[in-house]
């Protein structure tokens, strides 16, 4: 991990009116690593992610991408940088097939301006193949007929298809069974092995220990620790999540 971080947040803060959602958070992701983001409900995980994705902007602090300071003010900005977010609800259209979902909003067209279904199908197959997604039997079946794990795989494949550099996964295993969770975690690992930076939000420490390289713990809007997964234990993480030391007590006026 000697190279420079792919994404670096320096002391970012976000408040919604009187509510301080994030306070001076530092956060780094390197290319080729899975960075887990853990914390209790209301710890600010979603706020942090939305800031990176451009859904809202941080009030304070600096964001660097690939070593350069950037300003992300809209989802379009983050997409242009190569940041893709797979939200928990996946946002797939059930009535469309796998190919159509993967290309939704970025369809390929022929020189006549009509949809180029064939090259989209080839490319979708190639992407799924490169991610070793083996469980989808036909890319021309409607997404409605797929299992939770398969849908997650489609959403991830959709996110990595656009030369993305950083993929953010919001609770990708929350609704999955044992076997499907395994498949998705394997997929997450493969993304990092391809050199992408991955941010994995999870409530499930078991998943974190299985797939992540490092983990950042948020508590009440502040980062209370960044650990190498190999050098920490579930016990320590739980302590950090529930009782990590805060530099700033919420509700107290700053001096």
């Amino acid at each position: 991990m000697s190279q420079k971080p792919l994404l670096e947040l320096k002391s970012v803060s976000k408040n919604f009116g009187a509510v301080q959602a994030l306070y001076k958070v530092d956060f780094r992701v390197f290319p080729g690593e899975v960075m887990a983001l853990v914390g209790d409900n209301g710890a600010g995980k979603s706020t942090l992610i939305k800031g990176i994705a451009g859904i809202h902007t941080f009030n304070d602090g600096e964001v660097q991408f690939d070593g350069k300071p950037v300003s992300i003010t809209s989802p379009r900005d983050s997409a242009a940088l190569g940041i893709e977010v797979v939200y928990q609800d996946l946002a797939l259209a059930d009535n469309l097939d796998v190919v159509n979902n993967m290309f939704l909003g970025r369809e390929k067209t022929t020189s006549f301006g009509t949809l180029d279904e064939l090259s989209m199908e080839s490319e979708a197959l190639a992407t799924l193949e490169s991610l070793s997604v083996t469980t989808i039997r036909s890319v021309r079946q409607a997404v409605a007929g797929l299992s939770g794990g398969q849908r997650q795989a489609i959403a991830v494949a959709k996110a990595v298809m656009w030369n993305s550099k950083l993929v953010i996964l919001d609770e990708p295993t929350a609704a999955l069974g044992v076997a499907q969770t395994r498949q998705v975690l394997n997929l997450v690992r493969r993304l990092a092995d391809r050199g992408l930076g991955v941010i994995l939000i999870s409530h499930n420490l078991h998943d974190v220990f299985e797939v992540a390289d490092r983990v950042t713990v948020l508590r009440l809007g502040q980062d209370v620790g960044e650990h190498f997964v190999k050098e920490t234990t579930q016990q320590k993480l739980v302590e950090a999540i529930t009782a990590g030391e805060l530099t700033h007590v919420p509700g107290m006026q700053e001096a």
Binding site: P75, A93, N100, G105, T109, T114, S138, A142, A144
Partner: protein, 417 residues
């Protein structure tokens, strides 16, 4: 598991799903039907049942060439409107105003054509009428999207308001409430027929176009090593189209011929099928109907798509209004009435377009309109009182929706949709 074996598995898994032989194709079709994916099967069976019933009751009059051509004429107007309704149903909205919007289109065209007053050429009158209905669709769409008022309410208000406009225009500009169309070309829309040789040329173009499209599609899929339909299936599909269309043309030619209005409807069905299935816009319509949030996040202008669908609905209503006006050779205070909008919506729904958005086909709306027209036509032949007609029409619509909802339940049980 190593990457290589997984890749092999993907190939082994991905390909056999698409059947490669004729028999396998038929088997899969049967499987899908049993799983509840009925396609256009219920409509075709429904048409056969309706034809059998009225054929027997009318002692064969229903099947006569003359009645067959009448049936095509009766179908055209409603079919044109139903094609537009499909687009609003696809985005999970509804347009109750289409009946009277079609009447507004017909009345404006007829008024502009009057020789004693404006005496516009037919194309200018048609253009003005279509422009007017497009603006109506735009107004509906903007109110529905920008003010977030349910389409049900906005178009119900439209139904009332536009029926009033029709009444005002027809009583204002005529003494008896009836305005006669004098333009030969417009009269010809629903009162002229393709000459026999032309009807066969159109037939040949349609069948050849379909065959060429399917074959080139198969060819490029094979070149890219994607699963494609076997040749035998394509041959069977082209043959069934040829037989069905050929029988229609031949039988219509025994009487007056294929009505011009039917050709107009087929052309529009072709255009809108192309738009729905081969363009980005069409893809976005289905996406907005399936999951508006997903569409929004994919960067699709959801409101723009919605507004465009209401404009398509109004536009096709205008086309239908022109066909209906031509058929009656006039417009009057009653134009657009007789629950025309409900017939058009029923045609789209009977054609398999879901009221919940996201699924449906433009062409099936024509089959739906054919069912509505057949029932109307049959009951007309039998001279049944209008009370009975309404009851029967209601039952037909209910039956169609019941079949849809039962097959949907089977589909979700077998994971198809």
């Amino acid at each position: 598991m190593s990457n290589e074996t997984e890749t092999k598995q993907l190939k082994a898994n991905a390909k056999p799903e698409e059947p490669t032989t004729f028999v396998a194709y038929i088997q899969r079709w049967f499987m899908r039907v049993r799983a509840g994916d009925l396609g256009s099967l219920p409509i075709i069976l429904g048409l056969i049942v309706i034809a059998a019933i009225f054929g027997t009751l009318s002692e064969g009059i229903f099947f006569r060439e003359r009645n067959f051509v009448n049936l095509l004429l009766q179908t055209s107007g409603v079919a044109a409107i139903a094609i537009g309704v499909v687009f609003v149903l696809l985005i999970a909205e509804i347009d109750l105003s289409v009946g009277f919007v079609s009447a507004v289109g017909g009345v404006i065209m007829t008024l502009l054509l009057r020789e004693s007053h404006t005496d516009w050429p037919w194309w200018a009158a048609v253009g003005a009428a279509l422009l007017a209905v497009l603006v109506i669709g735009l107004i509906h769409g903007i109110i529905i999207t920008k003010a977030s008022v349910p389409s049900f309410v906005v178009t119900l208000a439209g139904l009332l308001a536009w029926s009033g406009v029709v009444l005002i225009l027809t009583t204002e500009f005529s003494t008896a409430g009836t305005i006669v169309i004098q333009d030969d070309i417009i009269l010809g829309v629903a009162n002229s027929y393709l000459p026999t040789n032309w009807s066969w040329i159109v037939f040949a173009l349609i069948v050849a176009g379909y065959a060429i499209y399917e074959l080139t599609q198969m060819n490029s899929m094979r070149q890219r090593n994607l699963a494609s339909k076997p040749v035998s299936v394509i041959v069977a599909q082209v043959l069934s189209l040829a037989i069905l269309a050929g029988a229609t043309v031949w039988y219509a030619n025994l009487d007056r011929g294929v009505p011009t209005s039917a050709v107009i409807v087929v052309i529009f069905a072709g255009i809108w099928t192309f738009v729905a299935s081969r363009t980005k816009f069409g893809r976005y319509v289905y996406a907005v109907g399936g999951n508006p949030e997903a569409a929004r996040r994919a960067g699709i202008n959801v409101d723009g798509i919605r507004i465009a669908c209401f404009m398509i609905s109004s536009f096709m209503a205008g086309i239908g209004g022109i066909i209906l006006a031509s058929r009656l050779r006039s417009v009057d205070t009653n134009t657009g009435g007789n629950s025309l909008e409900l017939n058009a919506i029923a045609a789209a729904v009977i054609g398999g377009t879901s009221l919940f958005g996201g699924t449906g086909k433009v062409t099936n709306a024509i089959l739906g309109a054919l069912i509505i027209a057949s029932v109307d036509n049959g009951m007309g032949l039998m001279g049944w009182p209008s009370g009975v007609k309404f009851v029967v029409n209601g039952c037909v619509l209910l039956a169609a929706v019941l079949i849809d909802s039962i097959s949907r339940r089977n589909r979700s049980a077998s994971g198809l949709a």
